[in-house]
């Protein structure tokens, strides 16, 4: 009898093996969708019956939300990727062998991320995140163009360094825990760690957190560790960009949050807040300025992901129930919105045959659905109501301004600059005289608008269950 | 009974100003002529001109619109109503409260508004010159006038002409700097508003120097007559305003008997005469200034008015 927890791990693993074996991209694409759908359904069942956590796997309010989110976006993305990949095959950018490899990797990635989320053991979590990184590296390089290889290589090197740093941090945490908990597995288990964290050696924890912040921060894409992110988004296949922005960043952030909780529980250790706030602000403002000179549409939205990660990290850094709640909400909304945007962008790039912003124009005229979809997405990502991100930004800013006026003003400045950058480009992409090829897109709009629908509803109404869950987590995060 | 009497006085006032205004203009012309050692036209000449114009047929430009034909009546009516609300020989007119001093100025303002439109209607460049200069002058004259009103209103604690006159005559005013400033500014504004030298020359017909005359260039016959009458009324109105605000003596109280009324009328005539003479002397003794010196002139008036108000505010809060 396998419970939901193992389910979300087993299905992708099995599917990965299967897809690696099976030829023929149409069938495999459908299989891919099916597998992700199954995973998603099982993940949903977590809300119904909560399996009890073991020494290796755990489930609590924090990761439940993330698992469901991850599996859901994974599912929608697979739907999108089905139509995307078929077009890639027709246009000859990908060969069937690579597609097979791609699907296998996709499932592996799903497996790795789910593992990272449900891992109850800091070592296990580390392994899972490393695995996720490697698989994405392989997928980023899949087009084998100069740019793709270069992006993948950059991602690989920076990612590996990040992994190394994170591992060092993990070891240090163990060292800190060992005197209290005693040797062996116990000292790496979350559920045990959080109970004893108060008595850990603060100095060790501090050093550990520095390494973890930098290590996992690289994955989150915080400036100045962000370098891999824009190129990896721009050069890889668009579904992967969607998964990267929508999920992988979240998973890394999730790891960071876990450790922040640990530090928050220790009275003597330095407050992780200031570090996170600083990095958050840097990322937000920096990315906002970077939006202005972008010529590649995917790279632009990658930078916007950095900006939002900055906002989220800022929120968690400020702490306080409201701010944490806002942070969680922002993570969810951002991954939904950003992945939806990438769905739109993927089809746009296929229609226009390029990712250069200069070569696309007047989309709302030539491809109304895609065009307005993109407009909607940019509106959402820019934090304009009535879409979800507005609510989280509202909470972040208004709940922290009373405490740290100047920091918040910097943040607001960043948000404003970012908005300016996004709409500057949107004007050329979506409006004005049409440019570039105007072929109708054969695309599946369902995933995109499903995401938008959720984001829209969440902007004006949050289901109480979700709220209580988030509030519990927010309290945990201190 | 009292109501009927009030109505009567109101009517009398309206007729009086209507009948007196051409006379005043004629009087000023006469005096000016005398000062220039000329015989000058007879006093009643303005009446004759008006009657003749009334009789003549109207020659209307092809490009003139219906507005062009309506405007003279609007201008005349607005000015006449304004003039009939100023206490001349008897305060506490029946309808004086229907428009206070600010409203009065605004009424004249609307008259000017339509006159300027008339200048633009036919579509010749002269009308354009006239209107554009007129509004430029007005844009300075009106604020100046309002500043003056502020000053007086703050002294009298009211913008109601009757009340103000009553307050002024009550003598508890004393001599105030701001009053002097206000008077000076008011005179300057009055000169500008009535298109007298040095702002404008009522007698000129050289297009490039015209302001008022340029606007009415296309008018003829009864329309012209109405507009002339309106400007004469305006002159009368300003002199009466100055009279009732700065020399309020002799104005009959609302419940005044026949004797007081008689005194009121007499003093009013005297005031008009004095005002006319002074105006004539001033006009003959000064030369017309270039159009773009006008802003300086009116700006001075505005500053004076503002200064008066400020001084008052200060003295109040002391």
């Amino acid at each position: 009898m396998i419970d939901a927890l193992t389910g979300v791990l087993v299905i992708p693993a099995v599917a990965a093996g299967l897809l690696a074996a099976l030829p023929g991209y149409r069938l495999t694409a459908r299989l891919n969708v099916l597998a992700t759908l199954l995973t998603f359904l099982i993940a949903v069942s977590l809300f119904a019956v909560e399996p009890k956590s073991g020494p290796y796997l755990l489930v609590d309010d924090l990761n439940k939300v993330f698992i469901v989110l991850t599996t859901f976006v994974g599912f929608t993305t697979s739907v999108f990727s089905a139509s995307y990949i078929s077009h890639e095959i027709e246009s000859g950018r990908l060969t069937p062998t690579f597609v097979r490899f791609y699907h296998a990797m996709y499932q592996t990635l799903m497996f790795a991320m789910n593992l990272a989320l449900v891992a109850n053991n800091i070592g296990l979590m580390w392994v899972a995140i490393e695995m996720a990184t490697l698989t994405t590296v392989l997928m980023v390089g899949i087009y084998r163009t100069h740019e793709a290889l270069e992006a993948a290589w950059k991602y690989f090197i920076l990612g590996s360094v990040g992994i190394a740093l994170a591992l060092f941090g993990t070891i240090l945490v163990y060292m800190a825990a060992r005197p209290v908990i005693g040797e062996g597995l116990e000292a790496m288990v979350w559920t045990v760690l959080v109970t004893k964290a108060a008595k850990f050696d603060p100095a060790l924890l501090n050093v550990a957190f520095v390494f973890l912040l930098l290590g996992y921060g690289t994955k989150v894409g915080l400036a100045p560790l962000h370098a891999w992110l824009p190129d990896a988004h721009a050069e890889g296949p668009t579904p992967i960009s969607a998964v990267l922005s929508g999920l992988l960043l979240n998973v890394a952030l999730y790891a960071l949050l876990r450790f922040k909780m640990l530090l928050a529980l220790n009275p003597v250790a330095i407050a992780p807040g200031p570090l996170m706030v600083t990095m958050g602000l840097i990322s937000c403002v920096f990315a906002a300025f970077m939006l202005y000179r972008r010529r590649d549409i995917k790279r632009m939205f990658a930078y916007s992901s950095i900006e939002h990660m900055g906002i989220i990290v800022f929120a968690f850094g400020m702490g306080g129930t409201l701010a944490n709640f806002a942070g969680l909400l922002h993570m969810t909304m951002h991954s939904l919105t950003k992945s939806a945007i990438f769905f739109a962008v993927g089809h746009i790039a296929q229609v226009k045959g390029t990712q250069k912003i200069a070569d696309m124009g007047g989309l709302t005229v030539t491809n109304p659905v895609l065009g307005w979809g993109l407009v909607l997405g940019v509106i959402a990502i820019a934090g304009l109501p009535p879409l979800g991100i507005f609510m989280s930004e509202f909470l972040v800013v208004s709940s922290t301004f009373a405490r740290e006026p100047w920091l918040v003003i910097i943040l607001v400045f960043g948000i404003l600059v970012g908005l300016g950058g996004l709409f500057l480009r949107l004007n050329t992409i979506a409006f004005g005289e049409p440019r570039g090829p105007t072929a109708p897109a054969e695309a599946s709009y369902v995933p995109m608008f499903a995401h938008f629908a959720i984001v829209f509803v969440a902007g004006i109404y949050l289901p109480p269950a979700l709220v209580t869950g988030f509030q519990n987590v927010a309290r945990l995060l201190g | 009974m009292a109501v009927i009497r009030d109505f009567a006085f109101q009517g009398a006032q309206m007729l009086l100003v209507l009948l007196l205004s051409p006379l005043l203009t004629g009087f000023v012309r006469k005096v000016k002529a005398r000062l220039l050692r000329r015989q000058g036209p007879p006093l009643l000449q303005p009446y004759r001109d008006l009657v003749r114009l009334m009789r003549k047929e109207v020659v209307l430009a092809e490009s003139a619109s219906w507005l062009f034909r309506v405007i003279p009546y609007i201008i005349f009516a607005g000015t006449w109503v304004a003039a009939s609300l100023v206490p001349t020989f008897r305060s506490g007119l029946l309808f004086s409260w229907s428009a206070d001093l600010i409203a009065l100025i605004a009424l004249l303002g609307s008259a000017r508004f339509f006159l300027a439109l008339a200048g633009l209607d036919v579509g010749t460049s002269f009308g354009g010159i006239g209107s554009s200069r007129e509004v430029m002058i007005a844009s300075l004259a009106e604020p100046a006038m309002l500043m003056i009103v502020f000053t007086l209103a703050l002294i009298a604690g009211s913008t109601q002409l009757s009340t103000m006159a009553a307050y002024m005559v009550s003598g508890e005013v004393g001599l105030r700097v701001s009053l002097g400033l206000a008077l000076l500014a008011l005179v300057m504004v009055a000169i500008a508003e009535n298109a007298r030298i040095p702002i404008d020359n009522p007698a000129t017909h050289l297009e490039l120097t015209m302001v008022h005359e340029a606007m009415v260039l296309e008018y003829s016959g009864r329309h012209l007559a109405l507009i002339d009458l309106a400007s004469q009324l305006k002159l009368l109105l300003y002199i009466s305003v100055i009279g009732c605000l700065f020399t309020p003596w002799g104005i009959a109280p609302p419940n005044g008997g026949a004797a007081e009324i008689a005194v009121g009328v007499a003093t009013y005539m005297a005031k008009l005469a004095v005002g006319g003479v002074l105006l004539a002397i001033f006009e003959t003794s000064i030369a017309k200034m270039r159009v773009f010196r006008v802003p300086a002139f009116l700006g001075a008036a505005l500053m004076l008015g503002l200064l008066g108000t400020l001084l008052l505010f200060v003295s109040r809060s002391l």
Binding site: L214, V412, F431 | S63, L120, V135, T159, F313
Partner: protein
């Protein structure tokens, strides 16, 4: 009441998907506009009822912030603005039934039009910070969509861009203000904010933020830059809504925060507001005088009128701060009455501009002229609007400005030196702006409708359709009624002032002859009705008498051509030449205006030309540098996109070392 209002809003919102569905069919625009006309009328009635029965009704929806819910509330203030919004909305919808049929891309207008109306209603109804801001920004967003409806013209896109940026700036400012009011534990309900009496310093910050936030939407100088770009860019009925209604919603936001949420004001707030108001009024009208694009001129005039409104509000704040509720009531009434008036005649004027635009395809006055012959009815209603906005009796614009003057005349009783000096200056500014406004509208009407047509387009214009005319006549009638029977409106405002400053102006409608008496009859009074009757009577009497007793003969003849036969229409005064004297008086300092005349030497065949250059000093001083800075920073930071992997590693490395150093020196 509030519940019904929400039903109305829901109905409006429901129209958007219908519009999308109908996008193909030709009757879509009729359906949508008729529907929104009906709904707005219903909402207006709701507003009237709740204003007169003087009850506060609230409604709460399980939306918005989960632990708070979305609160909505109709009190006197909200009711008044609900009326404003839906009056304008109804008129615009009626106008658009005719006007919208000329729209070339209806599918870019129809879905957003009802949502825009709904959003404005929601802003006024909202009773907690979150729903307020959502509606507020949603309002900006939907209007942005309408601004970029005609997206193929570059400048429309630019206008939309600037607009959206300024709108977001304003929203963020308001967000910060509410953040301060709510405190870090987030009491976002307005009731909670009313209950909490913020410390003076905090309250001051909130006020400044509110002034920036609401002001940027209302268009106070120097935050006005977007307004003259965005308002003309939208379709005319939307321009009418943006200028006539949305700016009022912004005023509502400011009033709500400054008078209601913040509690007792400090005296110097009023100085800030008054100064802003005065400068805005004069700058707005001066800008307007320099324009020759009809719609842009009107947009700049909105800036001026907003200034006048803020002067009224500032005075009200001052009186309230010094505990003079009656005077405060007078000033506030003046401001709010002007809100109403401006929404009426500005909508009217924009409709007129729209009709002209439809008939000629021209917004540039230099290409118009003589339209009074081709479209007499439009000309007439437009003239009414011009007279009203120029604050000339007996129309409504005059009454509100007159009330403002009366309020200013009460100010010497204020025990404050600063105000003592500021208020007269502001009064002078107000008078100046009024006079200049008259000049400006002589220009607008004269150049557009009078004279001879300057282009074939103008010569072949055709009178606009009956629906548009109906809308315009309706508003014109409203201008007249509000002008000659102001007492009704002043009394209607009594509950609002009662709620905000504790007192209200003396009851007006009871007085004989329907006179308006702000304080006391001996002090000042005005009777629009009598003035109107007098003027009409004496005018018609004169006409009658002359036609009877003298002559009524009339002959058409050529205009006096000064000896140059058949003058071409080009010899008429143009908009810019009309403004030349004023430009010379004020423009040289305010705009660094320069006239460069090139006179070719005698015998040369090249034409002489006169070029006028005008600098928008505010833009140059405030906006250009910011844009330049952002561009510079972006260019500089962009280098980071092009580093080698090794350099990126160096970044990581130095970050690590830095943090370790921090730890090493950590106490």
């Amino acid at each position: 009441m509030a519940t019904y209002a929400l039903y109305g809003v829901a109905a409006l919102l429901a129209l958007a998907p219908i519009a999308v569905a109908l996008a193909a069919s030709a009757r879509a625009s009729n359906v949508i506009y008729v529907a929104s006309l009906l709904v707005t009328l219903a909402l207006g009635v709701i507003g009237l009822m709740s204003l007169f029965e003087r009850t506060v009704s609230i409604a709460t929806l399980p939306l918005g912030l989960p632990w708070l819910g979305a609160h909505f509330r109709i009190d006197a203030l909200a009711a008044f603005f609900v009326i404003i919004v839906n009056l304008g909305g109804a008129a615009a919808s009626l106008f658009a039934i005719g006007y919208g049929s000329h729209e070339e891309s209806p599918q870019r207008v129809l879905p957003f039009y009802p949502t825009y109306l709904a959003a404005m209603n929601l802003v006024v109804l909202a009773d907690d910070a979150f729903s307020f801001l959502v509606s507020w920004e949603f309002m900006s967003l939907s209007s942005w969509a309408l601004v970029v409806a005609h997206h193929r013209e570059r400048e429309n896109l630019r206008a939309g861009y600037v607009y959206l940026l300024m709108a977001s700036l304003g929203t963020l400012a308001l967000l910060l203000a509410f953040g301060l009011l709510a405190g870090s534990d987030g009491n976002y309900a307005f009731d909670a904010m009313r209950a909490s009496h913020p410390a003076p310093a905090l309250a001051a910050t909130v006020l400044v933020l509110a002034l920036v936030g609401a002001g940027s939407k209302a268009g106070i100088v120097p935050l006005h830059a977007w307004l003259p770009l965005a308002h003309p860019a939208a379709p005319s009925h939307v321009s009418a809504l943006m200028s006539g209604v949305m700016t009022k919603v912004a005023v509502y936001g400011f009033v709500r925060i400054a008078f209601d949420l913040l509690g007792e004001p400090a005296w110097w707030w009023s100085m800030l507001v008054l100064a802003v108001g005065g400068i805005t009024a004069v700058m707005g009208v001066l800008y307007a005088l320099m324009q020759h694009d009809l719609k842009r001129l009107l947009a700049y005039h909105t800036v001026e009128n907003i200034g006048i409104i803020y002067i009224g509000l500032g005075l009200a704040l001052a009186f309230k701060a010094y505990g003079m509720p009656v005077a405060a009531a007078l000033a506030l009434t003046a401001g709010l009455f002007h809100v109403f008036n401006h929404s009426v005649f500005k909508s009217l004027l924009f409709f007129g501009a729209g009709a002209v635009l439809n008939a000629t395809g021209e917004r540039d006055m230099e290409h118009l002229g003589g339209l009074i012959h081709r479209m007499p009815q439009t000309a007439f209603v437009f003239l009414v609007g011009c007279v009203a906005i120029s604050a000339l009796p007996p129309l409504n614009g005059f009454v509100s400005e007159w009330l403002t003057f009366q309020a200013i005349l009460l100010s010497p009783q204020l025990p404050s030196w600063g105000l003592t000096f500021l208020v007269p200056a502001v009064g002078a500014l107000l008078a100046l702006s009024a006079a200049l406004a008259a000049a400006c509208f002589v220009k607008a009407f004269g150049v557009t409708f009078l004279g001879r047509p300057r282009t074939p387009a103008a010569a072949n214009a055709r009178e606009t359709d009956s629906n548009s005319l109906a809308a315009m006549y309706f508003l014109a009638a409203l201008c007249l009624v509000a002008g000659i029977l102001p007492g009704i409106f002043i009394d209607a405002l009594a509950p609002v002032t009662n709620a905000l400053v504790g007192k209200s102006m003396p009851h007006q409608t009871g007085l004989d002859w329907l006179t308006v008496v702000p304080i006391a009859e001996s002090r000042s009074s005005y009777n629009g009705l009598l003035v109107f009757i007098f003027v009409t009577l004496s005018g018609s009497i004169a006409a009658f008498a002359i036609h009877r007793l003298a002559s009524d003969k009339l002959r058409r003849g050529p205009a006096w051509d000064c000896g140059y036969p058949e003058l071409s229409p080009a010899t008429q005064y143009t908009a810019s030449s009309f403004a030349q004297p004023i430009r010379r008086v004020y423009g040289t300092t305010v705009f660094r205006a320069r006239e460069i005349g090139e006179m070719p030497p005698p015998g040369a065949t090249t034409p002489a030309r006169l070029t006028v250059e005008i600098h928008d000093l505010i833009w140059d001083a405030a906006y250009a540098p910011i844009a330049a800075f952002i561009g510079y920073a972006a260019e500089r930071l962009n280098v980071l996109q092009f580093l080698t992997i090794r350099r990126y590693l160096t970044l990581v490395f130095s970050a690590l070392v830095l943090l370790l150093l921090v730890l090493a020196i950590w106490p």
